[in-house]
């Protein structure tokens, strides 16, 4: 497809389980972002990948969260030993940025995670 694709769209898991969320960015986009959005809240920055540079992980809330981006394309966000406070919509975005400004990020529709 032409847009950012995220899977699964919905994930219900039990506390303590690990989850993986996948993001397929727009082809050719060099920058990839993960954000988290809790109910009725703004978007909380998690991690940013730009080309082959080291990712900016400054937003990851704990060491239970990790992300990787393979081949400069697909990204996976992994949450280990999930907690109820991890319940949120996880949004992925990509942009055609080569380290310079672009404020136009293209977002996927998100993966809604519910931890019981």
């Amino acid at each position: 497809g032409a847009g950012v694709s995220q899977s699964p769209s919905n994930k219900v898991t039990e506390k303590g389980k690990d989850v993986e969320l996948r993001c397929d960015p727009i082809s050719g986009h060099t920058a990839l972002y993960w954000y988290r959005q809790s109910l009725g809240q703004g978007l909380e920055f998690l991690i940013y990948f730009q080309g082959n540079s080291a990712p900016d992980k400054s937003g990851l809330p704990s060491d239970r969260f990790s992300a990787e981006r393979t081949g400069g394309s697909v990204s996976t966000l992994t949450i280990q030993r999930t907690q109820q406070e991890d319940s949120a919509v996880y949004l992925c975005a990509s942009s055609y940025s080569r380290g310079s400004y672009t404020g136009e990020l293209f977002f996927g529709e998100g993966s809604r995670l519910t931890v019981l």
Partner: protein, 113 residues
């Protein structure tokens, strides 16, 4: 701390009226300010941006105003339509933050027919 916030969490307008959504920011080092629209169940969508050395920028039916003196940003929507109903977020970006967007909490705009 540095943050981007909003004056009003909700705004209700009549179809055809003009809407003004406000945003306060605290990071005077921001290089760009951006407005996003998020419809229910979807990801945010870029509307318009403005560089910090400008005070006004116009798009199609939208105008963004930047007042650096009072650190205030606004989005004006002309002739508001039902399809404009959504949550609107302001965001800021600075080169010093490696070009990551920092978002505010959002304003819910409801357009009544």
């Amino acid at each position: 701390g540095e943050s981007v916030g909003l004056h009003l969490p909700t705004l209700s307008v009549q179809e055809g009226d003009n809407s003004i959504i406000n945003c306060a920011y605290s990071n005077s080092a921001s290089d760009y300010f951006i407005w996003y629209k998020q419809e229910s169940g979807k990801g945010p969508q870029f509307i318009i941006d403005i560089r910090s050395n400008m005070d006004k920028r116009q798009g199609q039916r939208v105008t963004v105003l930047l007042n650096k003196t009072v650190k205030h940003l606004s989005l004006q929507i002309a002739a508001t339509q039902p399809g404009d109903s959504a949550v609107y977020f302001c965001a800021e970006m600075s080169g010093g933050s490696n070009y990551k967007l920092t978002f505010g909490k959002g304003t819910l705009l409801t357009v009544n027919p």
